[in-house]
Symmetry: D2
Subunit: 154 residues, 4 copies
């Protein structure tokens, strides 16, 4: 277990996952945040209710957008905690609470086919007032389905 000052980072990341997993819309889509070591992933199983185009049986682009926005946001929050200074933990908590998406771009790379979709993210920039995160959504065969980049403010 790692501690950043007084923060037990594993505990904090677990709490973030729990908070996202109880968000109503997130739950409505049956999405889940899971912790793999210190990396958070977002997972959603293919389901009839998530299909956009019945003829082609592919995931609706809005599901990918939701997943990418969410994994970008939670990974940014986790990074804020990882970099938190024990003397300024109140400031970090305030940033995490305020964090909101300013804008996002999604590129649809391949048709949304698969049994499961997995989202991951990395922080490209972490500034005083906002950050930039890159996100990917792969299917269960490791194929890149969609990629995103988003700016968050806090």
């Amino acid at each position: 277990m790692t501690t950043t000052g007084v923060i037990k980072i594993d505990v904090v990341l677990q709490q973030l996952c729990r908070a996202f997993n109880t968000s109503p819309f997130f739950h409505h889509l049956n999405m889940k945040m899971v912790l793999d070591g210190q990396d958070i992933k977002c997972i959603v199983d293919m389901d009839d209710s998530l299909i956009g185009n019945v003829a082609f049986q592919i995931l609706h682009g809005g599901v990918a957008a939701t997943l990418l926005d969410s994994i970008g946001g939670i990974v940014a929050m986790g990074e804020l905690y990882k970099r938190a200074d024990k003397d300024h933990i109140a400031d970090t908590v305030k940033k995490v609470t305020r964090l909101a998406t300013v804008d996002m771009r999604i590129d649809y790379i391949a048709p949304g086919r698969g049994r499961q979709f997995i989202g991951s993210a990395e922080v490209l920039r972490m500034g005083r007032k906002g950050c930039t995160t890159r996100m990917n959504m792969h299917n269960d065969e490791g194929k890149l389905i969609a990629t995103g980049i988003a700016s968050y403010a806090y």
Copy 2:
């Protein structure tokens, strides 16, 4: 009633709305395409299941993304039919069938508060192989909540 060559455009737009309204994910979110004259709008009522942040009671960004992507796509399809030449109607049908989102940018302008959210779109560019559409989502008080711009290929 207007006819573009052999196409009765009102009938075609009604059919497009019906097709979107039976898409599983669209239905799962309780979104609806409605025809107002020859303009298509996308409507969704606020609902507990669409909330992202319980503390602030605001719409999840993924709902806005789904609405913007959808209204952009259907308005592009409608425009393809409006510009269709009766001699090349088969070509238009093929384009509409193939139409897919290549990329989309969403800007979140104001917190997603309201009783209802309404999406509208306009085509900025219509090329041989793709088009560019701008989309807006307002709430029931006329406040701009989110704006989007997307490229579609066909």
Copy 3:
């Protein structure tokens, strides 16, 4: 002449234009900010040095990107001054000085043909820590050549 508290807004907007017009890269491209009432426009004349594709004699996309980024930035700065409260003018000056582009999307709508290109912008969102601006570049015949949307932080 309008005054916002102690600020003479016309004078401030003139100063902003002057500051941009002396920026080396801006000058290298022969771009100019001009004040039309209280609206700032960005103007560039077509020139051999700005051509991207010799065969088609069209403006390089990078010229449009430079113009859109610049007009969005200066209009955001002007808006900060227009909304400035005389009691917090130091805060406004700090924001204007710090203002930097976080991200920008450009959509190329029509080939860059024309004798002159004119950029304009409007502020869509003005927050505590950043803003969102939409920009357009038309040619001298009023044709929309490119549109942009950008997030700035301050």
Copy 4:
């Protein structure tokens, strides 16, 4: 030396670099495409004429936009040739000739400081009618300054 059917790919990539290097605007900014094995890079040396903000002595964002758009485009063209089938080489040439930027997003990650800036790109999606490319611009110390993602049509 590799040959793809009848194409000598090294020769083709050299020709692409030469074509870009004679583009007027590219030349005006003193940018250069260089071939490193089969990878094309775009290089620009810091110069007084490329500065946006004199006080901070940083590169104008428009220079980064030009570099990212250009490296994305040339790498997409190179990839079209690399994947070309000797039986359809005329089709590939037509695509390369037609290739144009549809839209681009740029994220500014760090202030544009450095003695030299180097752009690289990778193709994320290559479709029948268009492709998606991700681009990065680093400075001579290997620091990421800006990243982009663009859709091109052909």
